[in-house]
């Protein structure tokens, strides 16, 4: 099998994403613990990481299941959080054009913030042929996938033994705080965050956490207005 360049590309995908995996590992543990704390059975808690494979939306889902939110609110919130993948897919598509439908389907499943970041960076810098690019993307994507599965299984195992007095559920909003601040980088995103925060506090007592979607929509509208006025 004359796959040496491909194997090398697969390896460099793993190497490039490796530093990021150090940060992914504790995040995966928290996702596993959160699933158990939300009341999921062991099999369900482990399967969540394979079926969804998107950390922030998994945490939000577990948080909302624990709070008894309406199923429609849970699904909508998770999908809205994951809507960012539209942008990643569009950015990577020109580089992965020509893959078979099956390869595209599997590649899409492996799409994450981290795999996108390293691949987009590498593809923008270097001219590589399609097999090399797809091998690189596969290396990065599978390395992240494996890390996520191993760390969330550890979280599921550990999660059952954590006493409720430790209030470990509080780790979820703490992770979201960091992700929220990381998402604020200009006037529009700042206005969106502040408006969503105020609206979320004002609508917090609506049943089934419906206020969440109202507040998010309000924040996005405010952000769009703030950008237009500039």
């Amino acid at each position: 099998m004359p796959t040496t360049p491909r194997r090398a590309a697969f390896g460099s995908g793993i190497r490039d994403i490796a530093p990021i995996l150090i940060g992914v590992f504790p995040f995966g543990i928290i996702a596993g613990v959160a699933a158990v704390e939300a009341g999921l059975g062991t099999l369900q808690a482990i399967a969540a990481s394979q079926i969804v494979f998107a950390g922030a939306s998994q945490l939000a889902t577990m948080d909302l299941i624990a709070r008894g939110a309406a199923p429609i609110v849970i699904v909508a919130t998770a999908l809205v959080i994951n809507s960012r993948f539209v942008v990643y897919g569009a950015a990577l598509a020109p580089h992965l054009r020509g893959l078979s439908p099956l390869q595209t389907a599997f590649g899409a499943y492996l799409l994450t913030d981290e795999a996108f970041a390293v691949s987009n960076h590498r593809f923008a810098r270097e001219t590589l042929d399609l097999p090399t690019r797809s091998a690189y993307y596969l290396g990065a994507g599978l390395a992240l996938w494996t890390t996520w599965q191993v760390s969330s299984v550890i979280g599921v195992i550990v999660g059952g033994g954590v006493p409720p007095e430790w209030s470990l559920d509080f780790a979820i909003p703490l992770v979201f705080l960091v992700l929220a601040f990381a998402a604020i980088h200009d006037r529009g995103t700042r206005v969106a965050a502040v408006a969503a925060a105020l609206a979320a506090a004002a609508t917090a007592e609506l049943p089934l956490n419906l206020g969440l979607l109202v507040a998010a929509a309000f924040g996005i509208a405010a952000g769009l207005l703030a950008e237009r006025r500039r």
């Binding site: 504790p26 995040f27 009341g39 369900q44 969540a48 079926i51 969804v52 494979f53 889902t61 948080d63 299941i65 199923p71 849970i74 699904v75 919130t77 998770a78 999908l79 959080i81 994951n82 809507s83 960012r84 993948f85 539209v86 942008v87 897919g89 569009a90 598509a93 992965l96 595209t104 590649g107 899409a108 799409l111 209030s167 470990l168 509080f170 780790a171 909003p173 703490l174 979201f176 705080l177 960091v178 992700l179 929220a180 601040f181 998402a183 529009g188 995103t189 969106a192 502040v194 969503a196 979320a200 506090a201 917090a204 007592e205 969440l212 507040a215 924040g219 996005i220 769009l224 950008e227």
Partner: protein, 109 residues
């Protein structure tokens, strides 16, 4: 489980998993027919994380015990952690500070 049955949770995971995959595959597969994300959609997508993540966090802090109350241990710990999150953008540091403040506050109050 907040009132949700095991089969409801399976259904939720299935719908969210499949929906997420559709989002992931959409522009990868559509390319050729749709070349770029429309500008307004792109601007909305860019604002979503800041708005949704904030809306997820705030009620757990301002309404930690069910009704509006800024005197709870979770509000205090959350605000302290928010400063760390803002200055460092570091997940382990934010969790360490937030959980420590929460445990100390709960032991004292």
């Amino acid at each position: 489980m907040g009132g949700h049955s095991s089969s409801t949770v399976w259904m939720l995971l299935g719908v969210i998993g499949f929906g997420t995959w559709l989002i992931r595959v959409s522009f990868m597969a559509l390319l050729g027919r749709v070349e770029r994300v429309p500008p307004l959609v792109g601007r909305i997508l860019r604002l979503i994380p800041a708005a949704v993540l904030t809306a997820l966090v705030v009620p757990g802090l301002t309404h930690a015990e069910g009704s509006f109350d800024l005197g709870t241990t979770r509000f205090l710990a959350g605000m302290t952690a928010a400063i760390v999150a803002w200055r460092t953008r570091n997940v382990p540091a934010t969790i360490a500070v937030g959980m420590t403040v929460l445990w100390i506050a709960e032991a004292l109050l």
